[in-house]
């Protein structure tokens, strides 16, 4: 496949969770992208899954002149994505890398959940897409919470600590208005893209591995005029709800149940009916400070 120009191919490398990721690219907009995306990921992989590394190439080719998609992403030399839209490269590259990382982190129990921390206390926010996790996570970041993830929590079955997976957060421009994300805010990088807004926590806003004390299941309702409400639920109910949001339970089975039971023993569990974002964030903050 002929490359578009003779621009030098840049080689990048990063090591999230101790897993080497290599990138070769001749696309200028992706310069230093790996170090930017994965700078705040944990550096160590506390159970070495073997000699694994991930190789990606993102190339701009001459296909654009022939009306075809000029941008191509390769994963381990296999073409996995092509596009005419350069702006889609970074989100898709990150998507492929994150998917490959999670496959190699199967020794950690994975839950589809947002997660933040404050003063060493972790709060996970499990729920399906559309439940309000991302919006709530950004609201809490603006309130001074530390970012661990808006999507994935990784529980170490031995220590029960949760490891951050601080991927970029993409929100629609409509949501960005609700979140008042039009300007740069301290420690939060906000980058406007064609289709959405990219939000990244940086400058020390990403938290360390932490034990979770609160498990909160948010529910988004269209009526933001309703008052937010936090309702205590039993740990058994929480366990069933978490199972529904677990990503790699099939490979855990019984061990997964035992891990979740130990994990939940020292937590308090609630459902959260979200209302106005500021009021919702204030409610959670106040609860955390009170306890």
């Amino acid at each position: 496949m002929p490359l578009k120009s003779l621009m030098e191919i840049e080689q990048q490398e990063c090591e999230p969770f101790g897993i080497k990721v290599h990138l070769k690219t001749n696309v200028k907009s992706l310069a230093n992208s790996l170090s930017s995306l994965y700078a705040d990921f944990p550096k160590e992989n506390h159970r070495n899954p073997g000699d694994c590394s991930l190789d990606y190439s993102v190339l701009e080719t001459e296909n654009g002149h022939r009306g075809k998609s000029p941008f191509v992403i390769f994963e381990d030399k296999r073409q996995v994505y092509k596009t005419k839209d350069e702006e889609m490269l970074l989100p898709y590259l990150e998507w492929f890398i994150n998917g490959a990382l999670l496959k190699r982190l199967d020794h950690l129990y994975q839950i589809h959940t947002g997660m933040v921390s404050k003063n060493g206390t972790g709060m996970i926010l499990p729920g399906p897409s559309g439940s309000g996790k991302t919006t709530l996570v950004i609201g809490l970041l603006k309130k001074g919470f530390r970012y661990l993830s808006d999507e994935i929590s990784l529980i170490d079955p031995e220590t029960l600590k949760i490891y951050p997976f601080p991927r970029s957060i993409f929100v629609s421009k409509k949501s960005a208005k609700v979140l008042s994300l039009s300007d740069h805010e301290a420690n939060i990088l906000i980058r406007e893209r064609k289709y959405n807004i990219e939000v990244r926590a940086n400058n020390g806003l990403v938290g360390d591995p932490v034990r979770a004390k609160y498990v909160i299941f948010p529910t988004y309702t269209r009526s933001s005029s309703r008052k937010p409400r936090l309702t205590a639920i039993s740990k058994g109910t929480a366990l069933i709800k978490i199972l529904r949001s677990s990503l790699n339970f099939p490979s855990y089975g019984q061990k997964g149940i035992d891990t979740l039971i130990r994990f939940l023993e020292k937590t308090e569990c609630f459902t959260l009916r979200m209302g106005d974002l500021k009021e919702t964030v204030d409610l959670l903050s106040a609860h955390l400070e009170k306890h």
């Binding site: 366990l239 199972l243 089975g253 019984q254």
Partner: protein
């Protein structure tokens, strides 16, 4: 059938690895489950419930019957 029972706070969790399903139960149901060992019949399980909880015999009998039926329906025990 490979079913395990674990306590979590004042509830019990039953996990059936054959069907990969988990069930939450209250303390009374947990007690009844623990009596489902092939050595206790419904009458003996009711006596166990009466020993543990201050409840009328009729209520205990009804609870045991309903819970055992539920276990059968979920194929956790054989009738």
């Amino acid at each position: 059938m490979d079913i395990v029972y674990r306590e979590l706070g004042d509830e019990g969790i039953l996990y059936d690895s054959g069907t990969s399903t988990a069930h939450v139960m209250n303390a009374t149901s947990g007690l009844i489950w623990n009596c489902c060992d092939g050595r206790h019949d419904a009458r003996e399980i009711t006596e166990e419930v009466l020993r543990r909880y201050k409840v009328e015999r009729k209520v205990a009998q009804s609870d045991v019957e309903q819970t055992l039926n539920q276990f059968k329906k979920l194929q956790l025990i054989r009738g």
